[in-house]
């Protein structure tokens, strides 16, 4: 089997495993199948990515050549995202098993089936080279995500899921309108074919409207600043494992979709003829500052981190609004690093929820002494979020500032620095409660979490430092991906 034939299985294996998972009884078997399926995807992506950097790997379904049939296509950009999504799932699942046992004790077969559907939808969005097919995968992952969010223990979980559903469906339908308009103008849905035919009709209002519809539609999915309203509730009320998974993958794949459509399909020339850069620049700046301030105000640490996620999307949006190779590379590398950082942070908080049953800031008081390993992990991941040297977060902010200075955008540099200071405040707020305040009187002593919860968390913490020191995998691939995106056809 060649790599081209192997590549689609990274999506198909979890997709086929999902219904089987729903039928499996008990708790262990569904989890095992989910674990094997995601592991299979990760192994395939690890095989495909090195080859895809040199030359795109393509697979046409049913032997129908691309403009007519649907093709899967992997290059340095989506191979990178695909590897990120599948590896994160593999790291999160062992951790998830313990917390899911506590939070979703019944019907775990269905739970993991939904998880696999969400996962394969995200992988499909990453791999596909067809604009309509992307919509279908988007809806596969979204629908299962709504159901997963509603599984949360909080009373408001179904409400958050419902609000997410309304926003998400509006976003997906906006995307569909955009795809419809460019299909009407060009008569094709294949992304590469679209890229060839769109320049001819780029001056028409239909294509310009399509660009706007698509950006707003995907903007909802990636929690672009004014369209982020669904995110805090959905993250705060979802089951812990799903919060960790979504925070590290779902918005990242949506960012990839924006990159792919803006740069490969519409092209840089078209994007710069529209006010794309200006709008994303302003939304990026505001999107860093306001959600960071909101994060400081939160009493619930899960919500605090959710607002921080919106702010981190602001950094990525700021980076990709610069329309330069360094800017795009900064966006891609921050996308990767933020996935690792936020997964680690959410794991720490959710471990505290597992032990104490609460995510309120009062519940963190005195935990530094009672759960030292968890809270140390929180501080280290927090340092990475702030962007302290030797951590992954430092690398992405460094590249972003480099890109901003190259274009003389001192305002952006200032906002990145202020954003980091605000991050010091909200991370510091939690760290202070954990390490400096005494445990509230009358609370039974809390024990350190067990090894099964600590190990995946610390793997991510080590990864945070590893990718802060050795940037060969992250930064080099990100630069390569940025060059592919800006160079039009790879």
């Amino acid at each position: 089997m060649t790599l081209n034939e192997l590549m689609p299985f990274s999506v198909l294996v979890p997709l086929i495993a999902a219904p089987i998972c729903a039928l499996l009884p008990g708790r262990f078997l569904p989890w095992l199948l989910a674990m094997l399926a995601t592991l299979c995807s990760a192994v395939i992506m690890a095989q495909v990515l090195p080859a895809a950097i040199d030359e795109p790997i393509r697979y046409a379904f049913g032997q129908w050549a691309p403009p007519i049939g649907i093709e899967f296509r992997t290059d340095a950009v989506n191979g990178f995202i695909g590897l990120l999504v599948s590896v994160m799932a593999v790291v999160i699942l062992p951790w998830a098993r313990i917390s899911v046992n506590q939070e979703v004790p019944e019907n775990q077969g269905l739970f993991y089936a939904l998880f696999l559907l969400a996962f394969s939808g995200l992988m499909g969005m990453t791999m596909t080279g067809d604009a309509f097919n992307l919509f279908v995968f988007l809806e596969i992952s979204s629908l299962s995500t709504y159901a997963l969010v509603a599984q949360g223990r909080a009373k408001a979980a179904p409400l958050s899921a419902f609000r997410y559903l309304i926003m998400g469906t509006l976003g997906a339908t906006f995307y569909l309108i955009g795809v419809g308009l460019i299909y009407i103008m060009t008569g094709t849905l294949n992304m590469l074919d679209l890229a060839e035919r769109l320049p001819e009709v780029a001056d028409t209002r239909a294509v310009q409207a399509a660009f706007g519809f698509i950006l707003v539609g995907v903007g909802v999915k990636l929690a672009l600043f004014p369209l982020h309203r669904w995110l805090p509730g959905a993250y705060a009320n979802a089951p812990s494992a799903i919060t960790v998974f979504l925070s590290s993958t779902a918005t990242k794949v949506a960012v990839y979709v924006v990159l792919r459509l803006v740069f490969t399909v519409f092209g840089v020339d078209f994007a710069s003829s529209m006010p794309y850069g200006e709008i994303f620049f302003i939304l990026g700046l505001v999107g860093i500052l306001l959600p960071s301030v909101w994060a400081i105000e939160q009493d619930n640490v899960k919500r605090l981190l959710a607002y921080s996620s919106v702010a981190q999307v602001g950094y990525i949006i700021l980076a990709i609004s610069l329309l330069s190779v360094t800017g795009l590379a900064a966006g891609l590398v921050h996308l990767f690093n933020h996935a690792v950082i936020k997964a680690a942070l959410f794991m720490c908080v959710c471990t505290v929820i597992y032990q104490t049953g609460s995510a309120r800031i009062e519940a963190f008081q005195g935990l530094g002494r009672q759960m030292p390993l968890t809270m140390l992990a929180f501080v280290l991941a927090g340092l990475s979020l702030i962007g302290v040297p030797l951590t992954a977060g430092f690398i992405s902010k460094w590249v972003l500032i480099e890109a901003a200075i190259a274009q003389g955008l001192w305002l952006a540099v200032a906002v990145v620095l202020i954003g980091s200071l605000l991050a010091v405040m909200y991370i510091g707020k939690v760290a202070e409660a954990a390490w400096l305040k005494p445990a509230p009187e009358g609370r039974p002593p809390v024990r350190e979490a067990r090894l099964g919860l600590l190990l995946p968390m610390w793997i991510l913490i080590v990864a945070n430092f590893y990718f802060g020191i050795d940037t060969r995998l992250t930064l080099d691939v990100a630069y390569e991906g940025a060059r592919i995106l800006l160079g039009g056809q790879p």
């Binding site: 309509f132 919509f135 279908v136 809806e139 629908l143 709504y146 159901a147 509603a150 223990r153 909080a154 009373k155 408001a156 979980a157 179904p158 409400l159 958050s160 899921a161 419902f162 609000r163 559903l165 309304i166 469906t169 509006l170 339908t173 569909l176 309108i177 419809g180 299909y183 009407i184 849905l189 509730g233 705060a236 009320n237 619930n300 899960k302 919500r303 609460s358 995510a359 309120r360």
Partner: protein, 122 residues
Amino acid sequence: MGWLGHFNYWVVVVLMMIGFYAVVARGNMAKKIMGLNLFQTSVFIMFISAGKILGGSTPILREGVEVYSNPLPHVLILTAIVVGIATTAVGLALAVRVRENFGSIEDDELSEDDPIDDEPAR
């Protein structure tokens, strides 16, 4: 033809605005779902009407017919309709759960910011 030549698009735009208004302005969850359906349907109509060719026949191969309508948008929309039905089903199921938990599906009777993160339902 004038503006009537774009009759199908006018229908789409009007339906889309009605649906969008219902989603955004109505507080009742069931009405929001209805608005969402209307909104999606308008997009389906846009796709399908784009596939129609004036004077074209149904896309079935037979003698004496040269011009066919484009079948592809119909096929795509079939998928989108299935997605829409699934969304409606999930949305209504969630509305039922919300009613079980809060006793209401009116937005203004529910909390603005879904802040009850710590309060377990079961």
